[in-house]
């Protein structure tokens, strides 16, 4: 299990670093991200379990900002990643919701936590003016990311997880 966790963590790190090197999707809103590493986190939660998933989320949120050379990012990424994974876990364990919906909720939680951190850091509620943009884009990317996670779980070779 430690080996699986490590391999999945490295996948999350690679995606996280690549994503932060990509140019912003919307140039006027450069803080918007696709949230691709959530594919890995949903996979980890469903295929490996809660403890590996939270370990990966924690290490990824600390390591990606360090690898990219922007340690302030940890203040945003860590609380957002843990809380959104918490929301994911709650919904996944009910077994009532499909992964695209779960991922959409996770992406919205992630965005709102980051806005709260930004509000604390700047000392003003003005940051919440970005909420409409984040809700709209977060819903679209959340659905896409969740569908990708669904496809990966659906077609993941079972043999690889059988030992």
């Amino acid at each position: 299990m430690i080996a699986y966790t490590a391999i999945t963590l490295s996948a999350a790190l690679i995606i996280g670093v690549i994503e932060s090197l990509l140019p912003p999707v919307i140039p006027a809103l450069p803080f918007l991200r696709l949230g691709l590493s959530n594919i890995v986190l949903i996979f980890a939660l469903v295929a490996l379990g809660a403890a590996p998933a939270f370990t990966i989320a924690f290490l990824k949120s600390v390591l990606v900002p360090l690898l990219v050379g922007n340690p302030i990012m940890i203040a945003y990424s860590l609380p957002a990643a843990l809380l959104s994974l918490g929301a994911t876990a709650l919904l996944v364990y009910t077994r009532k919701f499909g992964l695209p919906t779960v991922s959409t909720v996770a992406s919205l939680v992630h965005n709102m936590v980051q806005l709260c951190v930004a509000a604390l850091m700047t000392g003003t509620a003005l940051v919440f003016g970005y909420a409409p943009y984040l809700i709209f884009t977060g819903t679209l990317t959340g659905l896409a990311v969740g569908f990708a996670a669904y496809l990966i779980l659906r077609f993941f070779p079972k043999k690889l997880l059988e030992n």
Partner: protein, 141 residues
């Protein structure tokens, strides 16, 4: 249902492998989420009037209000330079690592804002009658 007997692997794995991408309970939740998204999109993309002046906040404190119809460069000792030019305002230099504020470019419409979280720096554009003040709940003047 349980095609797997490995104790290490959660049964969740088989469950989500065999289920459809959307389940029945999704309809309600997705309806709420998509409605919120559509409302947010409508709100974001409806044309906002051009602004009159820019308010600058550092650490949550209003430190200056500038008319946008002038050419001016303002340097803040926290490491930020802003440029006002032809009704637009932009952060042109910042010492923060991510440079998000610089990449946001120039803004000109009422309610638009540029935020540099590492420097605790915010620029907001205000119009004549402060229509957007209510949204932020932080009118100070």
């Amino acid at each position: 249902m349980n095609s797997s007997n490995q104790e290490k692997r959660p049964k969740l794995f088989s469950y989500y492998r065999q289920s459809k991408p959307f389940l029945r309970a999704d309809i309600l939740l997705l309806a709420v989420l998509l409605t919120a998204a559509v409302l947010a999109a409508v709100f974001s993309y409806t044309g906002k009037p051009l602004g009159e002046r820019a308010e600058i906040y550092i650490g949550g404190e209003l430190v200056g209000t500038y008319d946008l119809n002038q050419n001016k460069e303002i340097v803040y000792e926290i490491g930020i330079t802003v440029h006002i030019h032809d009704g637009e305002i932009a952060v042109t230099e910042s010492d923060c690592p991510d440079q998000l504020c610089v990449h946001m470019g120039a803004i000109s419409k009422t309610g638009d804002r540029i935020i540099c979280a590492p420097n605790k720096f915010v620029v907001v554009i205000r119009g004549e009658n402060n229509d957007y003040g209510a949204i932020t709940g932080r009118r100070q003047s």
